[in-house]
Amino acid sequence: MPALKPTVQPQIPQLVPTGSLQHLDPQDVKPNPNNPRMLFDPDQLAELKKNIAEHGVLVPITVYQPKGQMKFSILDGERRFRCVRDLNSEGHRDKSGQPLRLPANVVEPPNKIAGLLYMFSIHEYRAAWELMPTALSLKIVMDELGVEDNKTLSKFTGLSEPQIERCKKLLEFPEHFQKLSLDPDPTTRIPSNFWIEALPVINLGTTEIPRLKNLGRDKATEKLVDKYRARKIKSVIHFRRIMESYELSENERSVRTAVLRRIEEFFLDPSLETRAAFDQFVVGKKRVQGAVSACAEFIKQLQGLKLRFTTDDDERAELRKALQKVQEYCKSLEQVLRGDDDPEIPKD
């Protein structure tokens, strides 16, 4: 990682127009390969198409021409482009009987960072996509702009702070592990979530358990990868049971020792499955039910206090501060609970 440059505030690169507005034949425009049709809500697309059929394209799209290429690449306006292309192929014509054309602001090819920042806005909507390519691009942004702070990165990229945090976790792994999440074959690919969920377990194992410490991070990580491939980790979410077992044993020395011993076994015994190994240490259902009841009770109590009628300025400020604290905690907890397996990974 290069040294930080705290005194220089990086600027978001601006697009530079190359000339006046042009009306392009849609055949001279290429769709963005990172922006497939699956991205778009078909109902909204149909509505837009209907609108364009009646009124034409009112807001120009933004395109640039990569050096040496005849076609223009889209920076903004993929949906409008697709609608016009489809309308033309369906035989729709404008008032003068000609195929529809696309009004377009042609800009200079964006520099690397501007292109990356645009790419982020696309990846953000692709829930089913692997996070690893986004993480690699984020690293380039961090290196080029000398920014590591999540807030600033979030502002530049449009990624949420938890997403940035998840990307950073992926970047903690050496390249040979990162490559496993970039495998074109989804059946052999290790999902990005694997690394994100495994990281705290690897950190714990290689700092608290001497045998794993001696084994080293790479070897310990490889053990988990082998275990995952052997289907002994049936869901990456199950890594949380290991951390849960550890956290719950905080005040019980003998249980903590047993948990650490089990973690060691889990790493070293390829046949030991996650839930079989750790379910005895967690009483998840009871605690979750308790939390669900507590949430309902909390809302009920607040409603009963009729706080909307609070008029005193100091009291209102104090109450708002307390509510914000609750909100922040709930939001962060909700984000942590969001994780999931790669949708393409077959389940048992």
Binding site: G68, K112, I140, L182
Partner: protein, 276 residues
């Protein structure tokens, strides 16, 4: 007489076909599998084969690449801004074509970059280093274009910076050129293989209808699924290192070459050599 002339022509034109060299004897045997009038038709089919020998393939790649490099240099993209991308695994056609071009055109010495489309990390690093340039995918043959578009779609998610995209290929079918052009990739090809050039294709009228019908039936008899080749393309292009899977089955022959012997069996159509 027809058989002998056609066999001699086949042996002369296709002698360097790698999976199973076409000799006079083999070509004669192939033709003699047909009966009566069909032998004449088989001879006509031999004439319609677009055969790309190793030399022709290399020459096409070098010429097309030269034209592309000239165009890119004119817009300010020197060789060190060009990233050549192989689109299939090592050992398959794309890396072989890329290596052929790489050596023949001295691309290493010019400072060009090379990467495998499956190596996302490599592609990310190279494109990050180059920043702005051209991605040149290299392959030997494009049929429908579906497979190429799939590979390119995967590769592109790792590309950083602004890159124009080209496909360098000795031969491409008209279906493929349309498909990839729609995606915004421009093909530099030595030969665009039209449907009318393919005697057994639905849209071709090269053969009289009866002869075409009989040949199509023979093909479908050899392979019900791939009788007219993958996606019924019925292509007539054969490359020295392997025939595409889009050629009709009468050229490939039966699996293990029995009962029907092919003129251009693919590697996987040949019986396994005896292991001692």
């Amino acid at each position: 007489m027809w058989s002998l002339l056609s066999a001699a022509l086949a042996a002369w034109r296709f002698h360097d076909y790698k999976p199973s060299p076409v000799t006079f004897g083999r070509a004669k045997k192939w033709i003699e599998q047909f009966k009566g009038e069909d032998r004449k038709t088989a001879g006509m089919l031999i004439e319609k084969v677009v055969y790309l020998s190793e030399k022709t393939t290399r020459d096409i790649l070098v010429q097309q690449n030269h034209a592309l490099m000239d165009r890119l240099a004119a817009v300010g993209l020197p060789p060190d801004k060009l990233v050549y991308v192989q689109v299939h695994d090592a050992g398959s056609s794309s890396p072989v074509m890329l290596n052929l071009l790489r050596d023949a055109a001295g691309l290493d010495r010019l400072g060009c970059h090379f990467v495998d489309a499956h190596n996302s990390l490599g592609l990310n690093k190279v494109t990050n280093e180059v920043g702005e340039g051209a991605l040149i995918y290299v392959d030997d043959f494009v049929g429908t274009g579906n497979q190429f578009c799939k590979e390119r779609q995967f590769a592109f998610q790792s590309v950083v910076g602004t890159f124009s995209e080209f496909l360098l290929v000795p031969c491409i079918c008209e279906e493929g050129i349309y498909k990839i052009a729609k995606e915004g990739v421009e093909a530099f090809a030595g030969h665009v293989h039209s449907k009318v050039e393919r005697p057994l294709h639905d849209n071709s009228h090269v053969l009289d209808q009866d002869a075409k019908k009989r040949m199509r039936e023979i093909s479908k008899g050899i392979s019900a699924k791939l009788g007219l080749g993958y996606h019924q393309l019925a292509t007539m292009v054969v490359l020295y290192r392997n025939a595409p899977n889009t050629v009709p089955a009468i050229f490939r022959g039966s699996p293990n070459q029995a009962p029907f012997v092919g003129l251009f069996p693919r590697w996987k159509d040949l019986p396994l050599p005896n292991q001692k």
